[in-house]
């Protein structure tokens, strides 16, 4: 094993990537864990916003619809990096002003929470559109049948609309999840130690840029492949009851 690494000239890389110091592998993995934690939280937060946003856009009053239109338009128009800077600094500033006005000192805002909140708001705008489209794709008759049998609106949402729209929403949501995992890299700009920042630090301290960025790329790649497999299963489940377009013979 060592011989192979030696001959390929990778012995030093292996050393640099070792999990324990002086190797930097542990830092990279911690960064990855942070990234995933934020991506997961932001995706979930975005889904919640998206569900309310989509319902608001479809069933809300004029004011709600207008506000949501502004939200989705602005968020989708402004570059994410700019949004992150705005939301992060404005958000933390507001919280501090409020807390100081109320007589508390400055509050320390956890990077994870800030990251989830910032990316979640961005994700929410896209999720609103994905879910709105999916809800509209649900055949009207299915919702009508639920109404005709006395289901209250929230039950219709839970028992009919959401399960029925899942097959239309999963491809879009899978994209959003992948975007969430990669957008965490943008949080490096506000000094949050996710995978990209950890990688940069490791690379800068060792001058082994190529090794570390390649390793980080491989980690992102693994996340994508793994997510792809999970979403394929989710989609298969969501599409239950719908005959495949290819027919049953496969």
């Amino acid at each position: 094993m060592e011989l192979i690494l030696e001959t390929l000239g990778l012995a030093r890389s292996a050393e640099l990537l070792a999990l324990n110091p002086p190797g930097w592998g542990g830092n990279l993995l911690r960064g990855l864990a942070n990234s995933l934690q934020i991506a997961f939280g932001a995706f979930g937060f975005g889904l919640v916003i998206g569900l309310f946003g989509a319902s608001g856009k479809l069933y809300g009053g004029v004011v709600v619809r207008d506000l949501l239109a502004i939200y989705t338009t602005v968020i989708r128009a402004v570059p994410e990096l700019v949004l992150i800077l705005i939301l992060y600094y404005v958000g933390t500033d507001l919280i501090n002003q409020v807390s100081q006005a109320m007589g508390y000192g400055r509050v320390e805002i956890s990077g994870v929470v800030a990251g989830i909140w910032v990316l979640g708001i961005v994700q929410g705008a896209y999720a609103t559109e994905v879910l709105r489209g999916a809800i509209q794709a649900v055949p009207k008759g299915q919702i009508e049948a639920a109404r005709a049998y006395g289901m209250p609106p929230t039950m219709i949402m839970r028992r009919v609309t959401i399960p029925a729209m899942m097959s239309f929403a999963t491809p879009g949501l899978a994209n959003l999840w992948l975007i969430a995992t990669k957008d965490t890299a943008l949080l490096a700009i506000v000094g949050f130690s996710e995978l990209t920042l950890e990688t940069r630090q490791a690379a800068a301290s060792t001058r082994a840029y190529f090794t570390f960025f390649l390793a980080a790329g491989a980690l992102y790649m693994m996340v994508t492949l793994f997510s792809g497999a999970i979403f394929a299963r989710i989609e298969k489940w969501a599409r239950r009851g719908q005959p495949s377009l290819r027919g049953t013979s496969k």
Binding site: E144, A148, A164, M166
Partner: protein, 266 residues
């Protein structure tokens, strides 16, 4: 509560007690288009009321107003002696009341409208379990009996899209029966079916009529209406043009419009 309930029942005239549905002077407009222009109709328990009429005469709208899938513009609707409280603009006063009344009205749609992400069994148990709060085991047991009854006992675990239209419609009828409806509403249950599949669905409906189920049935199948209905209503441009027992209405139509309608549909 129980006392006042029974007291209320005693006050009702016997005639009123046997009423399943009473609709009085029902109006419905879509924007400036007046689709129902004052329709009144009473169905007693055990009645099979067939509603016939040309396309666009308002048959579906009438049926859908009864369970408030469409909001009536004005009029009065009484289901099982309970008047549905409406505001001046026709919207229901209490959503809960509508929802409760809807569970008493098993509706069967032209396009079946089964929930495609659920198996036939799941479709049939959905409302009993989640709306009527029937224990799951009990609901499943009953659903299996109902699916057997409509000839789909072996398809309980199949998803609707894998079935023929006739099978889907029979499953939809099982779903309606699962709530033990006091009145069944059929909106052209066979119009979306291939001709060779119509018979199997009509057979199921005929059985239901024979066992004394109260039904309102919008249909284009005149022969069938004549055979199963106890009362036939002919709608023309949002008004009841003529009504009566099937033998009268089909055998000896009085209005010229009905005569012409019966000629064109054969």
């Amino acid at each position: 509560m129980a006392v006042s309930d029974s007291a209320a029942k005693e006050i009702q005239a016997p005639d009123e007690q046997s009423e399943a549905i009473r609709v009085t002077d029902l109006h419905k407009s879509f924007g400036s288009l007046e689709v129902l222009k004052g329709v009144s109709l009473t169905a007693h328990k055990g009645d099979v009321v067939a509603i016939i009429g040309g396309s666009g005469s308002g048959k579906s709208t009438f049926l859908r107003c009864i369970n408030f899938l469409e909001t009536p513009t004005s009029g009065q609707i009484v289901v099982n002696g309970e008047e549905i409280l409406m505001r001046a603009d026709g919207t229901p006063v209490k959503r809960r009341q509508i929802e409760r009344v809807r569970t008493r009205l098993g509706m069967v749609f032209q396009a079946f409208n089964l929930w495609t992400h659920r198996t036939l069994l799941e479709n049939v148990i959905e409302v009993p379990i989640h709306v009527l709060k029937v224990p799951r085991a009990e609901a499943i047991e009953k659903a299996k009996i109902l699916l057997d009854r409509v000839g789909l006992g072996d398809k309980a675990d199949t998803f609707p899209s894998y079935l023929s239209g006739g099978q889907q419609q029979r499953a939809a009828i099982a779903r309606a029966l699962a709530v033990d409806p006091s009145v069944m509403l059929f909106d052209e249950p066979t119009s979306a079916l291939d001709p060779e599949l119509v018979g199997e669905v009509l057979t199921v409906i005929r059985d239901l009529a024979a066992e004394g189920r109260t039904m309102l049935l919008v249909t284009h199948e005149m022969k069938f209406a004549r055979e199963v209905a106890t009362h036939v209503v002919y709608l023309f441009e949002g008004c009841i043009e003529e009504q009566g027992p099937p033998a009268e209405l089909f055998g000896n139509p009085k209005s010229a419009r009905l005569q012409q309608f019966l000629q064109t549909v054969g």
